[in-house]
Assembly symmetry: C2
Homo-oligomer: 474 residues x 2
């Protein structure tokens, strides 16, 4: 059978892929043959393969559920029966299949035990700086599943545009999107993305970043943003969300009530990064509010106050909040995403010491094109290489590739993501000791990149060479 169908079947029959902590046992008892494939990407925790090969006949191949809640893989039943025990792992299985020169499919005798190193393996896509068509998002979800990523962090709105069509506040997109009809995500679009992701074992983590990064919100919601002042009078420009008005929190409550229902995941990302304080500082009403609240001139306290209110709102809707590292100091009930350059492990350590869960993004900013061969930079990342207790290290729940949208849209998203993000995928899934060598990973990654091509993912080449099935651009 075509490998592509197999991975679809995987999505259909394995509702458990969303729970990657379950162990996986792949056992194939196979016939004799000379071939080995380069291997599986990301590398399983334990893999033993041999040159014994076993033919897969499309006409006599099916999956069925067996005992021990495992799937059965039955081939050519009149002759023999081969059983595959697995709870998750059809993606892995599909990568073991190869064709000979006559087009026949084979799989070598292989024993695999597998589980992910980190529970949170995310990719951020930014649909505010450039709009990504729904089809482009779905295609990215396909590629994510092939790489065993399990979180789609949807940075859905930001300063430049507000493409999320809210039914509570329809003006947000009708006035804040690049175009009110063609550059939006309808409720139906969002449902489609969530459902498509779920079938691939991927959770959708929406981000509604505030109080900064909200310029586009202001277009459809008056009095939400802070009017900036110059020389004692309003300058006509607007800054972050206005934390001094009760109406702000009424708006946020209604918005997050909707968002919490539309996005069923238990996580929500609240942003909180890069708040420009100068506009708050310029505004006399904001300053008066701070006096009243006893914040003095400490704008960090104002920011903390605002974030606390929003975290409370989302907590009420049973969500766990994630925030960017900028605001971690003030909260106890949040997960913190570390994104800044420099000694990011220092920051990871600081958060873990404070007892909060951490997601690492700093080394995986892929939005800027780099010098070639830089996939190795994303591979040689050691997220736990900081001084800390086992308990602290267990608070590092995973990592995330960030694909910001300043220079990225549907034209270049796929080749910029793949196979560079695959390097991060292996780091987040596999045993670090078994995957510390760039040289050993290289041929396996080249092989995996060809698998991505064959499945229609526009993954760029790592170096000179070819794939059996090249990408056809048109």
């Amino acid at each position: 059978m075509p490998v592509r169908d197999m991975s679809v079947m995987c999505a259909v029959c394995s509702g458990r892929r969303a729970r990657p902590n379950l162990n996986l046992l792949l056992l194939l008892i196979l016939l004799l043959g000379p071939h080995t494939v380069e291997g599986v990407w990301p590398l399983p925790q334990a893999i033993t393969s041999s040159t014994e090969r076993y033919p897969l006949t499309p006409q006599a191949f099916c999956f069925s559920y067996g005992r021990r809640s495992a799937a059965r893989f039955i081939n050519n039943p009149p002759i023999s029966l081969y059983i595959l025990w697995l709870s998750t792992g059809l993606e892995t299985f599909s990568q073991l299949v190869y064709q000979d020169d006559f087009g026949s499919y084979f799989v070598n005798k292989t024993k695999i035990e597998d589980f992910p190193r980190f529970q949170f393996r995310g990719i951020l896509l930014d649909t505010s700086r450039h709009y990504l068509p729904v089809k482009t998002i779905l295609k990215s979800l396909d590629a994510m599943a092939y790489n065993k990523f399990n979180v789609f962090h949807w940075h859905i709105v930001d300063d430049p545009s507000f493409p999320y069509q809210s039914h509570t506040f329809p003006d947000l997109s009708s006035k804040g999107a690049f175009h009110p009809m063609t550059h939006i995500y309808t409720q139906s679009d969002v449902r489609r993305v969530i459902s498509y992701a779920r079938l691939r074992g991927i959770r959708v983590l929406p981000e509604f970043d505030s109080p900064g990064h909200t310029k586009s919100w202001g277009k459809g919601q008056s009095d939400l943003l802070t009017p900036c002042y110059k020389g004692g009078i309003p300058s006509g420009t607007f800054g972050p969300v206005n934390p001094a008005l009760p109406s702000t929190y009424q708006f946020m409550e209604r918005l997050f009530k909707e968002v919490s229902a539309v996005f069923p995941d238990s996580y929500i990302h609240l942003g909180g990064d890069e708040v420009d304080l100068s506009c708050w500082r310029s505004n006399p009403y904001v300053r008066a509010f701070m006096q009243k609240m006893g914040f003095g001139v400490d704008f960090a306290k104002l920011e903390a106050f605002y974030m606390e209110k929003v975290v409370n709102i989302t907590s009420f809707f049973n969500k766990t909040s994630i925030v960017w590292q900028d605001v971690f100091d003030y909260h106890e009930r949040v997960m913190v995403e570390v994104w800044k350059e420099g000694c990011y492990l220092c920051e990871v350590r600081r958060v873990a010491k404070a007892g909060l869960r951490v997601i690492l993004a700093s080394p995986w900013y892929l939005d800027q094109p780099g010098p070639t061969h830089n996939w190795a930079r994303y591979y040689t990342v050691w997220p736990l290489a900081f001084k800390g207790t086992e308990e602290q290290k267990s608070l590092v729940i995973g990592g995330e590739v960030c694909m910001w949208g300043e220079y990225v849209d549907a034209t270049n998203l796929a080749p910029r993501l793949w196979p560079r993000a695959s390097a991060a995928a292996e780091r987040l899934w596999s045993n670090e000791k078994q995957t510390s060598s760039v040289d050993k990973a290289f041929p396996r990654l080249q092989d995996f990149r060809c698998i991505l091509l064959r499945r229609g993912i526009q993954a760029e080449p790592l170096y000179v060479g070819h794939c059996k099935h090249e990408y056809h651009s048109v």
Copy 2:
């Protein structure tokens, strides 16, 4: 009418686009309206536009040949007749057309006089380091025409693979291509590319680079490459083409006889770059040949001897040879392409002072992804900014964008080329004084990039924003 059809029509009715030295006169007499488009890319030599606009009705629009060998543009004949004089320029015209919010097409009253600054405006594609499907090449030719590039420099073979299927030497591709059936260009493929290019005013300049960069040639042609020696015996590895054997020149004569017939263009690129002399040096027969020829130990003389022979062969077939700058010192009948980094204008000057024609490639190596916004780097290039006489400057016949294939194949070719190559396109076409400002060019280039998207070219974004017609990846 849809703009896309118009540009096709342009290709069909204007056989003169291949001779860009002819002046162009676009005169549109138009009705009243409020809109102006950002402008044409590359910028015409003279353009005067107004806000008067004129509707284009698909049902009542056609081109027909008129007097003065010009095309006539007739719209809505029952009411009025509008005439467009042009020898080339339908691409330009198509860029002036825009839609209003109801989908109607308009063009503003515009007067254009145009001609290219340089006669040679090339793009090199490398089909040896990665194979490019024919469809990908054709799509690139479309984009080239939109940018008024007029030379497709086809670096068709090199060390890694020999995809050109020669009828004289079929083993070259059957043994030297990545795959003898799926990764080759048949004679019919080549004819298709040449014909497709010709209809778009683009000449196809084939490159068969030797004596270096020929590893793949050796697989299908024994005794062609120089056996390297180590410790007095052949090491089993091979170096450049063997210049000491008469059979080498017999082979080249037959190969270039075929190539000269298959590629009708009067130019041919012979390469000549980066010859590794150590293998020649190691080979006792090569050294003996040098003694016999009186070259002593001057391997540059040997290289010059070889290139002279090959230039003679192609001259016999009425071709003008182009070589990379490495070998320019020794020849008088060649055009020289400057590609090395550093003071490339020093080299341009040196070649021009020697009285040879020059093509500049150094500043337009686009194969490596750069930091974003680097389109400006390719825009702020001044090819004639060297001390020299007018006559010497006139020897600079143009420039070329080089898209080498180490890290590029069909997955990332288009977004890596466009719109960065458009920056070079304007530099090679337009008046330098009118196009020296990056800031002034930016909005026009953003507009042009949206035109490329609408026409199906996967051109990447320059910065945050959107196009009316986004690229749909699937």
